[in-house]
């Protein structure tokens, strides 16, 4: 039975290892990090071109556009989440490693969110200004999107680990993830809308927070178990 300090040391070491690995991978493929952000900008651009020039309805739909755009962009890198680990055998080593698989998976998802979800949430702010959203509500948008992309990463992690090693993963994954994201979109955009009509944005954010808490406590375990399933 290792002492608590030793367990914490293992966690820190695993975290550092996984983080530096993710960053190294990202530096080799810098486009992977930029493409979702460019895609996000394009989605918003398409909405703007789909309406008349300077259409005031665009500002009314801004929250919905920003949320849907962020979720779609965050979906892009998800099918490949565990693909390279599966192909080069790293995943099998993780399953056999002394460090619990749940911990590795949770850290991997956290690293993925830091390098993909968080930039999208930050990117939403200038886009929101472009769409004509009042800048005082931007904090609620960013906070909601940070939790929203985190939940998407967790749900997407489960779906990606169910689909690991399957060629069609890219087309199946959105079908599995998006229906489960419905309440997240409702409460996330609801927070900004509540602020816009002068209501209290705290209640929808608390709901979002409780969904996040549920996801973060249950899904890494599900994800780890689903990954083991790939080797049965």
């Amino acid at each position: 039975m290792p002492s608590r300090d030793a367990a914490g040391g293992v966690a820190m070491k695993a975290l550092r290892g996984i983080f530096s690995r993710e960053i190294a991978l990202l530096r080799m493929q810098i486009l992977d990090a930029v493409l979702p952000l460019a895609f996000y900008l394009l989605v918003v651009l398409m909405f703007a071109f789909g309406t008349r020039a300077n259409d005031p309805t665009l500002a009314g739909l801004a929250v919905s556009i920003l949320w849907v755009g962020a979720l779609l962009s965050a979906l892009l890198p998800l099918p490949r989440l565990f693909a390279s680990e599966f192909e080069d055998g790293t995943l099998e080593q993780w399953c056999l490693a002394g460090t619990p698989l749940v911990l590795i998976v949770a850290l991997k998802l956290f690293a993925h969110w830091c390098l993909n979800g968080l930039p999208l949430a930050v990117m939403a702010l200038p886009l929101a200004v472009m769409l004509g959203l009042e800048s005082a509500g931007l904090g609620y948008l960013a906070l909601g999107l940070m939790m929203g992309t985190a939940i998407l990463t967790l749900l997407g992690g489960l779906s990606a680990s169910l689909l690991v090693g399957i060629p069609r993963a890219g087309s199946v994954l959105p079908l599995l993830v998006l229906p489960l994201m419905v309440p997240v979109v409702i409460f996330g955009s609801g927070a900004v809308r509540a602020w816009q009509v002068g209501g209290d944005p705290a209640a929808p954010l608390y709901f979002l927070g409780s969904i996040f808490a549920l996801a973060v406590t249950a899904l890494p375990w599900a994800c780890a178990s689903a990954l083991r399933n790939a080797y049965d």
Binding site: L162, L175, L180, A222, A226, N229, D232
Partner: protein, 250 residues
């Protein structure tokens, strides 16, 4: 009792059990469905508010109840497949998915047909309607995942995960009309206390509900049988079965 249960969980005895039970369920279901629908659509009194348009309830409500029931059943079977690695639970779970998908589609279609004369719109973005639509996608996800992976055991367990995670949607559908004050009418039959519907309207509804449940059970059993035969095609008991019925092969 328990030994009977354990024996039932083995594929060959489940197959024989389903083979004996399914025709009965099917015939009883179809006869009762005819009774319920003729009674409900032809003889029940018209509604004081909705006139004859309410009669679609005899298709809509049983289908809706079964879409939720089948999803719950699928999630339970999925949990059994994940926890105890029961082969039969995997088969039954995957057999339930298409039946549930059809029930959900019927619910949505009849709901739209009912919505147009009553609400003046084919579709509204109301909590119950959207949650039922999400249910459709969850069934679709289970089916797609069940087919996506070559190894049948792996694909079944992957689908089971989606079934289990998606079960959070079931109470949302069920209680959406109580939680959100929506356009959709409140619960009519499965509410606590006195039912809010007169008996001569309710009895054909109960008959249709039972009938549709029997038809669905019949479909699930038959689908499970086909799946078992496909999966166990190389085992001894399937070979013995084929030897018994040479005319089926020609």
């Amino acid at each position: 009792m328990w030994t009977w249960f354990h024996r039932l969980a083995s594929p060959p005895s489940f197959f024989r059990f389903a083979d004996r039970l399914a025709p009965w369920l099917g015939w009883m279901g179809f006869v009762l469905l005819a009774v319920g629908w003729v009674w409900g659509l032809g003889f029940a009194p018209p509604d004081y508010q909705q006139g004859d348009a309410f009669r679609i309830i005899y298709v809509h409500v049983p289908a809706a109840a079964l879409s939720l029931g089948l999803y719950t059943g699928m999630a339970i079977a999925g949990a059994c497949a994940l926890i105890w690695r029961m082969k039969l639970a995997e088969v039954v779970m995957l057999a339930m998915a298409p039946v549930g998908l059809v029930m959900t589609a019927i619910t949505l279609l009849t709901g739209m047909l009912w919505g147009k004369p009553m609400w003046g719109a084919w579709w509204v973005w109301d909590a119950r309607l959207t949650a039922e639509l999400v249910l459709l996608f969850l069934f679709l996800g289970v089916i797609v995942l069940g087919d996506a992976i070559e190894d049948p055991r792996r694909s079944a367990r992957a689908a089971a995960w989606i079934a289990v995670v998606g079960v959070v949607n079931v109470p949302i559908v069920k209680f959406s009309v109580d939680w959100w004050n929506s356009l959709h009418q409140g619960a009519t039959i499965l509410s606590f206390g006195k039912p809010a519907i007169t008996l001569d309207m309710a009895i054909p509804l109960y008959v249709s509900l039972l009938a549709m449940a029997l038809v669905a059970a019949h479909a699930v059993l038959r689908r499970a049988q086909v799946r078992l035969l496909q999966r166990e095609a190389r085992t001894q008991w399937v070979k013995a079965l084929r030897a018994q019925e040479p005319e089926a092969q020609s």
